[in-house]
């Protein structure tokens, strides 16, 4: 090769030479070549509905777990609040998911196939199992309002056992509902989502638990809210540890989670989570403080979900996040013996 000639792609060579010279940076200098700075990937066409669904789906899952716990330990108010919240959340979820389609009237095409390689297909079937169960469990809560006699009286007697079975079925599928959405995001070419696949499920699981606990704190007198407080504490812990790892262990790909709008959303989520848990624990005797804490946990979950969503979109829009990590990967492979 002619040494006088300015080497094509020399910016890369310089960048690589710089790294070989010993500065092993967690975040490599973002110097890279691109086609007029344009994105290589197509950023998600998903809009706010999907970010909102991440929240409502998690809320439904957390609420169903809360409700089942209330059911099995004889806390009627916890059970009722959980079941009602779960139905509301799963109904909203279905609406949001259909609305986000390019062809909403074709939503049922999702039911043509069951594909384990498509987390959206898996999610469709999880929702298909979970939704009716959560719905039945919530409907069973109207039993006490029915007349004791006549055909409706029969329904009144039949509903509670049906609700118990449905409530347990919903709780069994709830953990899948609360965590598959992390795979839904990670199973894409979106760099900051894909590379976070090990930790996102824990962020989402924690966020789902904390939001379910938020429902309990809002709707139940403090005397019955002990389990919700503990759920909030543990859920917040999962979420905060997971989010910390997402932000700090991905090198350059953690950057979208820390900067700009997603960074602000995730910081707000963290602050609200900490405030909500602190309020729930310290204000455990006050109905008002508990309720405000519950609301803070719900708001925290919304902020976290939108933050994660927008961080991924930002990483797909900037060619830096596509080119630099892939270059680093190629370099690593080239440096391997025999590679």
């Amino acid at each position: 090769m002619n040494a006088d000639r300015p080497a094509v792609g020399d910016r890369f060579r310089r960048f690589r030479a710089g790294r070989r010279a010993g500065e092993e940076l967690a975040v490599p200098p973002a110097e890279f070549t691109s086609y007029y700075g344009r994105p290589i990937l197509k950023p998600p066409v998903w809009t706010w509905e999907i970010a909102a669904y991440l929240f409502t789906g998690g809320l439904a899952a957390g609420s169903s777990l809360l409700a089942a716990g209330g059911q099995l330990t004889g806390r009627a108010e916890v059970r009722r609040a959980g079941r009602v919240a779960a139905l509301a959340a799963v109904t909203a979820s279905a609406g949001l998911l259909v609305k986000d389609l390019g062809r909403p009237e074709r939503f049922h095409h999702m039911l043509r196939v069951a594909k384990p390689t498509s987390p959206m297909s898996v999610g469709t079937w999880i929702l298909t199992a979970y939704g009716p169960a959560a719905g039945l469990a919530a409907i069973a809560e109207v039993a006490p309002l029915l007349p004791t006699r006549g055909p409706l009286g029969l329904v009144r007697r039949a509903l509670p056992p049906v609700g118990r079975v449905a409530g347990l079925a919903a709780a069994l599928t709830a953990p899948a509902l609360g965590t598959y959405t992390a795979v839904l995001l990670a199973d894409t070419a979106v760099p900051s989502w894909h590379e976070a696949y090990a930790d996102l499920p824990f962020v989402f699981a924690g966020s789902a638990l904390a939001s379910g606990a938020g429902v309990g704190l809002l709707a139940v007198p403090p005397a019955q809210a002990g389990p919700a407080r503990r759920m909030a504490l543990a859920g917040a812990g999962l979420e905060l540890v997971g989010a910390h790892r997402v932000e700090n262990r991905l090198g350059l790909l953690g950057e979208p989670y820390r900067t700009g709008r997603p960074g602000r959303l995730l910081r707000a989520g963290r602050t609200l989570t900490v405030a909500g848990v602190a309020g729930a624990v310290l204000g455990r005797r006050s109905r008002l403080v508990s309720a405000v804490s519950g609301a803070a946990l719900l708001a925290a979950s919304v902020a976290t979900r939108f933050g994660v969503f927008h961080a991924g979109v930002a990483s797909a829009r900037d060619p830096k996040y596509t080119v630099v990590p892939q270059r680093a990967r190629l370099d690593r492979r080239a440096a391997e013996p025999g590679g």
């Binding site: 290589i40 390019g102 609360g178 990670a186 894409t188 070419a189 789902a208 892939q326």
Partner: protein
């Protein structure tokens, strides 16, 4: 029917088993895998492929804005542009060193400012995400940009002043018809499928526009039309090749930059071509997407490039996202267990 390729009722849907994607997808007696070899070293940037594709496939217009990116006003592959001819301007001589230019003054012809400006242009393509604005800083840093070309060839200024060494890279981009296709793996309706020719095609009567494939494609190919809500991309002219014809773009290409044929043959031809070019003093000539061992199991449409892939807007090391899917499900399973454990603990862990 026995002599025609056919599929049993419920073929496996995953594209993760690589070797022969059509057979892996359940086709019996599949014909040889067909593909494109796009040799960018002979592309003259005439865009006959873009036009022929639109004509044959009835693809809607994709907007008429000037993007300020050299002669590229298409911008990117979209649902309304299934071939996209990229134009790259570099203040460098092609191939044989600078002998014939030696002694000529070389001015500072690259314009970071105009590059940054061109990155900021976007246009309504009737599709989403379509052609989005880029990052101005990234464009400006890539100072291999001469601004909008003048009417005459560069350097014809009447004097030696402001002259520069210069080359144009042109590449007709297209869907790669990946061996392991992320779009196909994640499609929840089965609208995307593997044809008997090993290509990847969207069934327009099935697609419900969920958009999952758009985020799953590591090349940023597939895109959604705003007015009809469905995704569209190159079909490798499924209708034409089924009738034994050549795809419209390859048929129209006047320089045989786009070659169509059985993938095995194309790979052999490409290896010869790259060897010839290197021999003739083009050390940067390399193949892209030809390797069945790359992150997507090799592309059904692969390229001969004269510079790093990202210079043309291609990812340097694409990987099919579903490669990590088993690990993802395992992590999600663990998280689901943790969720259950927390809920159980919350109710058992105290008296109140």
């Amino acid at each position: 029917m026995a002599d025609r390729p056919h599929r049993p009722a419920a073929p496996p849907q995953s594209s993760l088993s690589a070797a022969d994607p059509a057979t892996a997808a359940g086709w019996v007696d599949a014909p040889p895998r067909m593909g494109f070899f796009t040799d960018t070293s002979v592309c003259i940037g005439c865009k006959a492929c873009e036009v022929a594709c639109k004509e044959w496939n009835g693809v809607p217009t994709s907007g008429l804005d000037l993007l300020g990116m050299s002669y590229d006003n298409t911008g990117a592959l979209t649902a309304n542009s299934w071939r996209h001819v990229a134009f790259v301007e570099q203040p460098r001589p092609a191939g044989h060193g600078t002998a014939s230019f030696a002694g000529n003054p070389t001015g500072d012809s690259a314009s970071a400012a105009s590059a940054a400006r061109s990155a900021g242009t976007a246009k309504p393509t009737g599709t989403e995400p379509g052609v989005l604005a880029g990052e101005p800083q990234a464009a400006a840093r890539t100072t291999e940009f001469l601004g909008m070309p003048a009417a005459g060839p560069p350097g014809r200024t009447g004097s030696a002043e402001g002259r520069s060494d210069f080359r144009w890279l042109m590449m007709s981009d297209v869907c790669k018809h990946c061996t392991r296709a992320g779009c196909l793996d994640v499609c929840p309706t089965g609208a995307l499928f593997r044809t008997e020719f090993g290509t990847v095609v969207v069934q327009e009567d099935i697609c419900n526009g969920c958009g999952y494939c758009v985020s799953a494609c590591p090349y940023g190919v597939i895109d959604r039309r705003v007015d009809d809500g469905r995704v569209w991309k190159c079909t490798l002219c499924y209708d034409r090749i089924g009738a034994g014809l050549t795809p419209a773009c390859a048929q129209a290409c006047p320089t045989e930059s786009i070659q169509y044929g059985p993938l095995d043959e194309l790979r052999e031809r490409a290896a010869e071509r790259v060897a010839t070019l290197r021999e003739r003093g083009e050390p940067q000539a390399r193949l892209y997407g030809h390797d069945p061992h790359d992150g997507v199991g090799g592309d059904g449409a692969f390229f001969l490039l004269l510079d790093e892939p990202e210079v043309y807007g291609l990812p340097p090391d694409p990987q099919v996202t579903t490669r990590d899917l088993p690990a993802m499900w395992r992590r999600a399973g663990l998280a689901a267990l943790a969720m259950t454990a927390v809920a159980v603990g919350a109710f058992l862990g105290g008296r109140r």
